[in-house]
C-alpha cells in the first residue's frame, strides 16, 4: 500500500471521504424520510412537518396496513408469484443451459438452437403483440400471466451456459463412460459445482418478480388479482382507489400520507432482508459475464 502524506493528498482524502459519505447518505435519506413519516401521527405527516425523525410517534399506520384486506391479498399474490415464478425460472434456466453448453458433436443441433434463443432475446415482438398472445391464451386474471411469459430469462440462460462451460470436461466424461445419464451428470456434477451462480440468479429473479408491477397492471383486469407492487401503484402513484374496490372510508384511510409511507416501507422490507445475500453474490454474478441487470 502506498502511503501519501503530502498536504494536498491528505486534503483530498478528507474531501473524498466527506463526499462519498454525503452521497451514500443521499441514497438513504429519502427512505429514512418515508420511514419517519410512516411512524408519525396523521397530523404532522399530512402537514409536511416530518423530516427525518417521527413526530407523534405511533405504530397505528402499520396496524392499519397489516389490517387491510386489500393489502394482504396483494401481498399473498406477490409471495405466490415469487415462489412459483422463481422456481420455474431456475428450473428452465438450468435445463436449457445444460444442453446448450455442450458442443454440437455431443448435442446435435446445438448451434441452431442457441441462435433460436439469442434471436428471441434480441428481437422484441413488442408490448401489444405479446399482450394479445397472453390474452388469447386465456391467461388474463390468472397467476400464470405473471409467471409464464417471462419463464425463460434468456440472458440468464446464456450466463448459466457460460458458467457450465467452465466446468472441467473430464468430470462429466468419466461419469458418462461409467454409464451415467445426462440427468445424473447435471444433477450430481453440474448443479453442486454451480451453486454460487444459481444463488446469484435466484436472488436476481426473486427481486425481479417482487418488484414487477407492469404485467400486473395490464394482465389483471380485475384489481382483486393485483400483485403488491401493482396495488401499491394505485395507492401511492395513481391515487385512484376506485380501482381496488374499497369502501370510501377505507379509501380515505389508505391514501393518507403516513399510511402510504407505511405501505412503501412494508413493500421494501423483503428487499432489505435479501439485500445482504444479494450483495455477497452479485459481485460473482458480474464475474459470470453479466454486465448489468
Amino acid at each position: 500500500m502506498i502511503r501519501e502524506n503530502s498536504l494536498s493528498s491528505r486534503l483530498f482524502d478528507y474531501g473524498n471521504h466527506l463526499f462519498l459519505a454525503g452521497f451514500a447518505l443521499l441514497c438513504l435519506l429519502p427512505l429514512i424520510h418515508i420511514f419517519a413519516v410512516s411512524l408519525s401521527g396523521r397530523g404532522p405527516a399530512n402537514g409536511g412537518f416530518v423530516s427525518f425523525w417521527p413526530l407523534d410517534f405511533t405504530l397505528e399506520n402499520y396496524d392499519q396496513v397489516i389490517g387491510s384486506q386489500v393489502f394482504l391479498r396483494s401481498l399473498f399474490i406477490s409471495f405466490q408469484r415469487v415462489v412459483l415464478g422463481v422456481s420455474l425460472n431456475m428450473a428452465l434456466i438450468v435445463l436449457c443451459a445444460y444442453p446448450l453448453s455442450k458442443s454440437p458433436l455431443v448435442f446435435r443441433g446445438r448451434n441452431v438452437l442457441i441462435w433460436v434463443f439469442v434471436f428471441a432475446m434480441l428481437f422484441d415482438g413488442g408490448l401489444i403483440p405479446t399482450f394479445l398472445v397472453v390474452r388469447s391464451l386465456g391467461l388474463l386474471n390468472k397467476l400464470g400471466a405473471l409467471i409464464l411469459p417471462g419463464a425463460v430469462p434468456i440472458f440468464s440462460v446464456i450466463l448459466m451456459m457460460n458458467f457450465f462451460r467452465d466446468i472441467p470436461r473430464e468430470l462429466e466424461e468419466s461419469a458418462l463412460i461409467d454409464g451415467a445419464s445426462h440427468w445424473r451428470v447435471l444433477w450430481h456434477i453440474y448443479l453442486p459445482l454451480s451453486l454460487p451462480a444459481i444463488a446469484t440468479l435466484t436472488l436476481f429473479a426473486a427481486v425481479g418478480h417482487w418488484n414487477a408491477w407492469f404485467d400486473g397492471l395490464i394482465y389483471m383486469t380485475d384489481s382483486n388479482n393485483y400483485p403488491m407492487q401493482t396495488y401499491l401503484r394505485t395507492v401511492v402513484v395513481e391515487l385512484d382507489l376506485t380501482r381496488v374496490g374499497v369502501t370510501p372510508q377505507e379509501l380515505l384511510r389508505l391514501s393518507d400520507r403516513a399510511i402510504r409511507g407505511a405501505q412503501i416501507i412494508v413493500a421494501t422490507v423483503p428487499i432489505l432482508v435479501v439485500y445482504p445475500f444479494l450483495q455477497r453474490y452479485f459481485i460473482s454474478g458480474i464475474r459470470l459475464g453479466a454486465v448489468k441487470e
Partner: protein
C-alpha cells in the same frame, strides 16, 4: 479419446445417438416451447402493424392495409415528439450514468479504509434494487408542493416548484432520479476493473515520484479503458430505452410535451385506447431499430473490447 468413450461419434447411427442423447432434447424442450409461445408468437403478431386488426377476427383474418398505419403514424405530430423525447432522455441518462459511475468508482478506489468502502458500497447499491413504484411513491411524496424538497426550497426563499408537473423540470427530475437510483450500482463493473490493476505498477510509479493524481491519470485510467470502451459500446443498444417503468410511474398529461416516450405512447394508444394496429406499428418501428442497435452494439463490443456473449 471421446470416440473411444462413445460420446461423440460423427457418423454414429441416429438411433444409437438418440438412445444416449435424448435427455438433452428433453431438457431443452420445455424452455423452447415457452420461447416459441411467448417470444416468437408475438414476433409473428407484429403483422398487426400491417393490418386493421380486430381482436374478434384475430391475426389470421384481420384486413391487410399495407403501410397505412405507418403513413398515419409518421403524419402524427406526436411521432417526432415521442421519438426525440425518447432519444434525448435515454442518451443523457446513459452518458451521465457512465460518467458518474467512473468518477464515483475512482473516488471509492481512492478511499483506503476497507470498512468505510464496504459501507459506502452497501448504501449506494441499494436504490438499484427498489422498484420504480416504491421510488416513485417516495419521489411523489418528497417532490410534492408540500413535500420535504419544496419545504427546503421555501426555506431558502424561493418559490416552490412542480418538479414532476412542469415541462421545465420534468426531464431534469427524470434524469436526476434515474441517476440517483442507478449510478451507484453502475460502479460495480468499474470497481471490478479497478481491482484488476496491478498494485506493483502503482508502487513502482510512486517510488519514481509520481503523485496520486499522476498515478490516476497514467495508470488507473488507462487500466479501466477497456471497460469504458466496452460499456460505451454496449450502451448503444439502449439508446431507445428511456426508462418506461420510471416515466409511466412519474409522468402526467401536463408533461407529455417533454416526457412522453415511445413506450408510454404505445401503452396508452394500444392498451388504454385499444388502437392495436397503430400501437403495433409504433412498437414494431422501435423493435426493428432496437434490434439493429443491439446487434451493432454487440459487434462493436466484440471488435473493440473483445466481448462476446456466446
Amino acid at each position: 479419446m471421446l470416440l473411444k468413450a462413445g460420446l461423440a461419434k460423427r457418423h454414429e447411427p441416429l438411433r444409437a445417438y438418440l438412445g444416449r442423447s435424448w435427455p438433452l432434447y428433453a431438457m431443452i424442450l420445455p424452455g423452447l416451447l415457452f420461447i416459441l409461445l411467448f417470444r416468437y408468437l408475438p414476433m409473428y403478431g407484429v403483422i398487426i402493424a400491417f393490418q386493421d386488426f380486430s381482436p374478434a377476427k384475430g391475426f389470421a383474418a384481420s384486413r391487410w392495409v399495407g403501410f397505412d398505419n405507418f403513413d398515419f403514424l409518421f403524419s402524427l405530430p406526436e411521432f417526432s415528439r415521442i421519438f426525440s423525447n425518447t432519444l434525448i432522455i435515454a442518451v443523457l441518462k446513459l452518458a451521465l450514468d457512465q460518467l458518474g459511475a467512473i468518477v464515483l468508482a475512482l473516488l471509492i478506489n481512492e478511499a483506503r479504509n476497507l470498512v468505510f468502502r464496504r459501507s459506502i458500497q452497501t448504501l449506494i447499491y441499494l436504490p438499484h434494487f427498489l422498484s420504480w413504484i416504491v421510488l416513485g411513491g417516495i419521489l411523489l411524496d418528497i417532490l410534492s408542493p408540500f413535500g420535504i424538497v419544496n419545504n427546503v426550497v421555501r426555506a431558502l426563499g424561493h418559490e416552490p416548484q412542480l418538479f414532476l408537473g412542469s415541462n421545465d423540470w420534468f426531464r431534469i427530475t427524470i434524469i436526476g432520479s434515474s441517476l440517483w437510483k442507478g449510478v451507484g450500482f453502475s460502479t460495480v463493473v468499474y470497481l471490478a476493473a479497478l481491482t484488476a490493476i496491478s498494485p506493483t505498477l502503482q508502487e513502482a510509479a510512486a517510488i519514481d515520484g509520481a503523485g496520486r493524481f499522476r498515478r490516476i491519470w497514467h495508470i488507473i485510467l488507462p487500466g479501466i479503458r477497456p471497460t469504458v470502451v466496452l460499456l460505451a459500446a454496449l450502451s448503444l443498444g439502449d439508446v431507445l430505452q428511456a426508462g418506461f417503468e420510471q416515466i409511466l410511474t412519474l409522468y402526467s398529461p401536463a408533461v407529455y410535451r417533454t416526457g412522453d416516450i415511445i413506450d408510454t405512447y404505445v401503452y396508452r394508444v394500444g392498451l388504454v385506447s385499444a388502437q392495436y394496429s397503430l400501437a403495433g406499428a409504433v412498437g414494431l418501428f422501435k423493435s426493428v431499430i432496437g434490434f439493429f442497435l443491439i446487434v451493432a452494439s454487440y459487434w462493436l463490443a466484440d471488435r473493440y473490447a473483445g466481448y462476446r456473449i456466446l
